[in-house]
Symmetry: C2
Subunit: 331 residues, 2 copies
Amino acid sequence: MRYLTSLISLLILTSCSQSAPPDWALVVHGGAGTIHASTLNAEQQAQYHQSLDEALVAGEHVLESGGSSLDAVTAAIQVLEQSPLFNAGRGAVFTHEGRNELDASIMDGRDLNAGAVAGVTVIKSPIAAARAVMEDSPHVMLSGVGAEEFARERGLEIVEPAYFYTERRWQDLQKAQQNEQKPQASLQGSKDWKFGTVGAVALDRDGNLAAGTSTGGMTNKRWGRIGDAPVIGAGTYAANESCAVSATGHGEYFIRRTVARDICARVQFAGASLPDAAAQVIQDILKPMGGEGGIIALDTQGNMVMEFNSAGMFRGSVSSRQARHTALFHK
Amino acid sequence: MRYLTSLISLLILTSCSQSAPPDWALVVHGGAGTIHASTLNAEQQAQYHQSLDEALVAGEHVLESGGSSLDAVTAAIQVLEQSPLFNAGRGAVFTHEGRNELDASIMDGRDLNAGAVAGVTVIKSPIAAARAVMEDSPHVMLSGVGAEEFARERGLEIVEPAYFYTERRWQDLQKAQQNEQKPQASLQGSKDWKFGTVGAVALDRDGNLAAGTSTGGMTNKRWGRIGDAPVIGAGTYAANESCAVSATGHGEYFIRRTVARDICARVQFAGASLPDAAAQVIQDILKPMGGEGGIIALDTQGNMVMEFNSAGMFRGSVSSRQARHTALFHK
C-alpha cells in the first residue's frame, strides 16, 4: 500500500512537472549554415559555446528577476551583436561595396507591436534601434540614413563604420568576389556563406512572448538588399496567441515563405504543436526549395524549439526548469 | 412535364455557372480611406471610375488573350502608377523632406517567387522594378539607391524625381506639416491621410494567381519609413494553394498583423472561405486596433473579394463571366 501511494505521488509529480509551463524561458541562436565539427577547432567551438552562454546569462538575469521578455530578447541579442563571432553588429559580413549594412527587428507578443531597421551602417546596436522604432515612432520599419537620423535623435549610440570591421569577414568578401569571377559562379550558387544572423525568443513570468533578430545579411549582397531579418512575419514574429519565432538562413526563401508567421499560423489555425509546425516549415517546405537555415521558437507553454535543415546552428536555451545549454552541430 | 424539364435544366445551368470557376479574373484597387461622395464632385468621381476602368481594360486584355496573371497585374498597376489620381508612381505623396519615395512588390502564386523595391525615387514604374527583382536578381527585396542602380543596370525607365510631382500632393504635405505644428498633433493623430496605394490580383487561364502593390506611402513619412506595400505577407501575398491579396491602408497595422498572409493562412489552415477570412482580418482584427484600410483578394475558384473598413475604397473587378465594374464608396 505504501509502495502504491509512493508510486501515485511520483506519477502526479512527474505529470505536473511535464504539463505546467515553466515560469520563464529563453532560446537564442547565432546563425545556421555549414557548421561542422571538422571546420571549427576545439578552441573555436569553445568560443562559440561561451558567447552563446553569455547571451543566455544576460537574458536569464532579466527573466529570473521578473523582467520582460522584450528586455530579455534585447539583452541576449546585444551580447551576440557585440561578439565578433556572429554576423550581426561587430563581425557583420560585408556588402559587395565593402560596407556593413545591418538589419534588425523586434516584436512584442502582447500586442503585436513591432519595430525594424534596414540597411543601417553607424548604429552600434541595431536591435536597440529596432526597439526604439517600435516604442518611440509611429512607424514599424525604418531604413538607411533616415533610420540613422532617427537613432541619433533618440540618443542611441552611434559608431564609426569601422567599429563593425573584422578581418575574417573582409576575407570572406574577397573570397566571394573571387568566386564571382569564375565561370558559372553566382550569388545563388555559392555554398560558402556562413549564416551568422543572431536572434532570441523569450517567455517572461507574466506569460508574454517576444522575438528579435539582428544581422549583417549576406556576404557580397548588392543593391541595398534587405533580407528576412527586418521583415515582420519572415525573420521575426511574436504573438501570445500562437508563438514567437526568430529565423536565420537564406533570407530570400524565408521572405517568400513568410516563415515566422507561417509556423505560428499552423499553431494558431491548424492546431499543430509548435515542434510539428516548425518541422513542417523548415524540413518539408524550405528544404526541398533549397531554403537552407533554421529557426528558434517558443510558445506560452514554454515549449522550446530549435529546428534547422543545415549542418549546424549555433544555439542555446534556458528556462526556470532547465539549466543553460548550448549546442553547435546536429544533435 | 415540359415545364418541369425546363425548370430542371435551368437549375442545372444555374448551379453549374455558380460552381465552375471563371476562366480568368482580375480585381484592382486605388486605395482606401476617407472617401465620401461629399468630398469628390461628379467630375472627380468620373475620373476615378475612368482610371480604374482603364486599369481593368489593360489587365483584361492580357487575361482574355491567355496571358499570365503576373502580366495582368503588372499592366493594371502600371496604368494606375501613371495616373496622377493615385498615390503610386506619378501622383505619389511627399515625404517629410519633400521627396517622393516609392515602394512596390509583386508575387507569383505558382512558386511563391517574389520581388520588392523600397524607397526608390527615380524609377518610373516601381512595379516593373519589383518584377525585375523577382525575375532577374537572386534577391527578393532591394532598397534605395542600390535598387535604383539595379534598375538602371536592367534597363528600366529612369525619370527625374520631378516626374512624380503633383501640386495636389505637394499641398497635402504643406497641410500635414502645418498640422504638426499644432499642439497634440502627431503623425498618428492625423485623420487626413488619403490612402491611395494601388494594387491588383489576378487569376489566369492556367489557374495561376498573382498579386502586386505599388505606393508612395504616407504623406509626411520620415526616416526612410517602409510601409506594408513592399513587405511580402503584409501588403502583398499570392499562393495558388490559398489566395492572392493586395492591401491598402495604414501600413504599420498591416505589417504587424501580416495581413495578406493572415487572410491566406485562414483559408489554407482554418478552412475559412476567402470572403470570411478577409472580413475576419479587416473588420474583426484591424478595425478595433485602428488599422484603417482594406484589401482585394482572389482565389483559384475565382472568388473576388473587396473588403475595407474605411469610408471608401477605389476598386474594380472583371472576369470571364462578369463585365468590368468599378466603385468608390460603400456598397
